[in-house]
Symmetry: none
């Protein structure tokens, strides 16, 4: 598996073009939004013709879900064992990634298109949101095992509390606030601290 299809007849598809198209599509998706971007722009940016795109993906939605699916947006910072430092590192990486790829516009596009093209939001979740949540959850689990957190704590809820301020700040026009990650981590750890003896 993972292997190429048994060589089909005719000229093979140019390997690099797929990547170039997907990259251009994702870029434009974030910068212009789903409806405002055009396949002509993607084609121009990727240096191919519009037909070449349609040859590979049937529709605009197909292309963009593929682009989102191909995106690799979560890089796990190496865990150190220090709960506070590890959580903060993950959150800072999250914020940095969002900024780097114009993530809030991308997120907005997926939300805005949810009624019309739900695959976009579904893919965004699967590829970027849930993996990052899993990282955070894993750190919290280890902290719980070490007794730094109440054993009955709802860790998924805690993950939402950790990530949430980022979104809330952005919506309030306070995006990019320094120290937001530490603040969130400290508050969660304080709130979930095991009750006294």
């Amino acid at each position: 598996m993972g292997a190429r299809q048994t060589k089909s007849a005719g000229r093979p598809r140019s390997a690099g073009k797929d990547a170039a198209i997907l990259r251009a599509a994702l870029e434009l998706l974030a910068s212009h939004g789903y409806t405002r971007m055009s396949l002509a722009q993607v084609a121009a940016a990727a240096g191919v013709s519009k037909s070449t795109i349609h040859l590979r993906w049937k529709t605009k939605a197909d292309l963009l879900t593929a682009a989102l699916a191909a995106a690799r947006m979560v890089d796990a910072p190496p865990p150190s064992g220090d709960t506070r430092a590890d959580l903060t590192a993950i959150l800072d990486d999250f914020a940095a990634t969002v900024e780097r790829v114009r993530g809030m516009a991308l997120i907005g596009t997926c939300l805005a298109e949810e009624a019309h093209t739900p695959e976009l939001l579904a893919l965004l979740r699967e590829r970027t949101v849930l993996p990052r949540r899993a990282l955070l959850c894993h750190v919290l689990e280890q902290a719980r095992d070490r007794g730094e957190i109440r054993p009955d704590a709802d860790l998924d809820a805690a993950v939402s509390v950790l990530l949430g301020p980022f979104y809330a700040d952005y919506m309030a026009g306070r995006g990019g606030r320094a120290g937001w990650a530490e603040d969130a981590v400290d508050l969660v750890l304080a709130g979930l601290r095991p009750t006294g003896p």
Copy 2:
């Protein structure tokens, strides 16, 4: 009293049409997004001609910012003095309102359009986000004055922690989770509790 305008010349503007147009526009903005909705759809839904819309608002962006500005989306539940109950009530009202007006799609549209029509996000902030944050902040201030919260707590950051899980849950596909508001309130109050003697 009432200082009635001395009847302006010409045919008066049909009373309900403004409201019908704005309502239709907001509805479509949430359900289709900025670029996918058309003025023709708004006109049809409101039962007026396209020209009537252009008579009142110069451009599509004008209309939609007006629709957003006219939306009344923050209803303050009466404060009871019970910090936990008051915060939870505000957060629950928030979640209910978002659900009622397809708020996440609307938010998504504003985020997606930020680069192209920043007024949308600006208005959303001014009209809905910041007023609700002010309500929460006010409750927290009173709690601090009563000694329920550390005097040096960063209340704005606390507000983001209160609201944030809503967004984070939605992004994770956990939107509508029961008890999210209580969880967030409890965690914040526990995290900000004054340190004992």
Copy 3:
């Protein structure tokens, strides 16, 4: 005749508004052309409402023919008896008037609209072209009577030769050439000089 209609009932039409509207209409006709100008622009420039225009003239074509009809664009310089000087004066006045009222654009509009609104060109002829030709013809007649011109000369054709270079120069991008009038007059007078004994 020429007297006002026997006082009709109701509020009389504002006198100045007619003039203001016609002036604005003519101005815009020259500067934007028939189809590119709008009644809204005329209304704004004249300080009235669009409806006020329609109250007086049924259609756009009606208004513009009226505006053209009202225009007074031929001022006869006083004849001196010197054929050469008189002809030159009329031609120079012609050129000056055309420049002052953006006449070539106006002429172009009337020509362009000939198939669709032939009244425009008809009025332009009647009000401006023919009166000026009559002036020139009169001077030539007197010259002929004085024996400066062959008795069998076709004076109407001569008038066209006098005026023509103005148009031909403009079309060639040589509009405003100094001395064009003298040149034309000299050439015509030389060409029509009575043949010697």
Copy 4:
């Protein structure tokens, strides 16, 4: 020889469509004028879709300047060496061409649009007016060389006198007058005849 392009990729452009579009565009430009004609009319007349037009020319102005540029409106009658006959032939051909392509309406459109789309008039000059003037000037030069015309005559001015009556006649409603060309030629030749010994 011929240096044939190495067959470009993709479906080749339908041969006749360019010509059909340009012809239809020029026809409509003359009959309706720039602003009154629509691309939909051009498309219908040429039997193509509107998009096909936009594929080839970016804007309406682009299309119409191209149509004007493609028009071949000056056919040089072969020179015979007889000054009077050659000049008359050129002028008659001029009048015939103008009539054939509804030239006065076209000229009117270019004049009317001068403020808004100056390329139209510029192209008309370059493609039709100036070439014809050059023909006339060439004949006059030869006449001068043969001593039929005063050596100090301003030939460009003479060209304007030759062509001018056509415009002036049209403006006066005397367009199509038989013999106008001969009259103009005779008058010019008489006016420019070398002075006797």
